[in-house]
């Protein structure tokens, strides 16, 4: 259950802290997905997981593998780059879709078409 790579103590503590913070922030984001009241409020919640949450976990991974293999292992940077580029695209598209649907249904709470 508790298998883990053999790291020196300082690296182990740092990796553990980064992992726990990252996971907690991601979880807070997902909790927000449940607790916030309207759709437009909920759209903001997942960005916690894809910024600081992912950042913490990916830095932990970089640290762990770099210490383990004795050289810089930084391919996690690719995941970070990928996340920063794709999350805005998906959220923007989703918000636009929601706005379009609300407008066609004549919802009074959303702003009218920019014209």
């Amino acid at each position: 259950m508790t298998e883990a790579p053999d790291l020196p103590l300082w690296a182990a503590i740092l990796t553990a802290l980064l992992l726990l913070t990252g996971a907690s922030i991601t979880a807070i984001g997902s909790i927000g997905l449940l607790r916030l009241k309207s759709f437009y409020q909920r759209v903001h919640a997942p960005t916690l997981g894809s910024t600081l949450g992912a950042g913490g976990i990916l830095v932990a991974s970089i640290l762990c593998f770099s210490v383990l293999e004795g050289r810089a292992v930084i391919h996690e940077v690719l995941i970070a780059l990928f996340l920063t580029l794709t999350t805005p695209v998906t959220l923007m598209l989703l918000a636009r879709a929601a706005l379009y649907r609300d407008r066609t249904e004549g919802d009074e709470d959303v702003p009218k078409e920019l014209d």
């Binding site: 259950m1 508790t2 298998e3 883990a4 790579p5 053999d6 790291l7 020196p8 103590l9 690296a11 182990a12 503590i13 990796t15 553990a16 802290l17 992992l19 726990l20 990252g22 996971a23 991601t26 979880a27 984001g29 997902s30 909790i31 997905l33 449940l34 759709f39 909920r42 759209v43 919640a45 997942p46 997981g49 894809s50 949450g53 992912a54 976990i57 990916l58 991974s61 762990c64 593998f65 383990l68 292992v73 391919h75 996690e76 690719l78 995941i79 990928f82 996340l83 794709t86 999350t87 695209v89 998906t90 959220l91 598209l93 989703l94 636009r96 879709a97 929601a98 379009y100 649907r101």
Partner: protein, 94 residues
Amino acid sequence: MSATLLLGWSITISQLILGFAMACATWRVVIGPRAQDRVLGLDTLYVNAMLLLVTFGIQSGQTLYFEAALVIGMLGFTGTVALSKFLMRGEVIE
């Protein structure tokens, strides 16, 4: 030895936390109430699953999980984009 034990437990705990986050996202997919809420939940689910795979990678000490995480991320991105497009227009490719 104690360092390994400490790291092992923190990895397990973070995996549990991430699992809980995935459960929250799944619950949003189930309860809706509208289609856009479900798609948002699905997108969050993908990101959380990707992070969970990275923690599995740290646990096993293998870089194999990295590729899996990248693939999950890409599939999630395309899926969400296609679904959003569908919600907006009723068609994926016009």
